[in-house]
Subunit: 136 residues, 2 copies
DNA sequence: TCTTGAAGCTATAGTCGCTAGAGAGATTAT
DNA sequence: ATAATCTCTCTAGCGACTATAGCTTCAAGA
């Protein structure tokens, strides 16, 4: 049985975040001591680790709720899980390409060799998107 | 003189967002008609376009405030603007590499060829980060 | 056993950058 | 004149936390 602080240390999830997850119904309300403090089991630790890892991979709270439901039914087919991973992947790829376009523009404007604002490529570009090479 | 709706159409910034920017002090409160409706000038249009483009390139509201201040002083040196662009670029690059690590992991787990949750690589990986190839 | 300091409790509000809705008043076109 | 569309203010909500205040409980050392 761990206190919330120990659970936090073991999972890397901050204490207020653990309480927030409890409120959101992602983790069950754990048993309490006589003095009303939360005490977690190994299962609680596993569940929170699953949540943390899913968050790190970019799943939303709602998606994690679904993933937790899936993982509780080992005999079920895993198509749904595959679909969710595929959606996540597609989203990550969209973001990457958007950021890469930004990267190109920022590199371009960072190459400004003017000395005053009046001629600065950074300021000029911000004022006029048609100076950009790509859409964003 | 444009109404807020016309300003919105011309800049692509939604009406509530324009009012929000006014409240945040990014744009000055414009003149009003007798009936209390906002009327914008060409200058207002320019300023909002600058803001929109800066947002698209990823600058925060606070950074945009600084950039607008800079652009109002054409005779000043532009080092500050360069520094801000460089910080933005570095941040974009950090995000890209983080997303690329996620992309690799998501591609890996999406290659699951199991049929049930019990053996599904997606669920297994979420439960255990040590199955990952990279940090994230 | 007592004391002290760390840890935990609840409840509320704040973060960022918007976005949505209600209910009223203004403007424009026919 | 009337109807359709716009605009007004104000308030609340989004997601995923994070911070603060004021209190109570726990655990370890004297
Ligand atoms: Zn410059
Ligand atoms: Zn641009
Ligand atoms: Zn699978
Ligand atoms: Zn991992």
């Amino acid at each position: 049985m761990f206190s919330i602080g120990e659970l936090s240390r073991r999972t890397g999830v901050k204490i207020p975040t653990i309480r927030y997850y409890e409120q959101m119904g992602l983790i069950a309300a754990p048993d309490r001591t006589e003095g009303n403090q939360r005490r977690y089991s190994k299962d609680g630790l596993k569940r929170l680790s699953f949540i943390r890892h899913s968050r790190e991979l970019g799943f939303s709270i709602d998606e994690i709720r679904e993933l937790l439901d899936l993982s509780a039914h080992p005999e079920q087919p895993c198509n749904d899980a595959h679909q969710m991973a595929a959606r996540r992947l597609a989203d990550v790829q969209r973001r990457i390409s958007r950021l890469q376009r930004l990267e190109r523009e920022l590199e371009r404007i960072s190459a400004c060799d003017a000395h005053t604002i009046a001629d600065c490529a950074v300021i000029e570009t911000l004022a006029d998107h048609s100076l950009c090479e790509t859409e964003h």
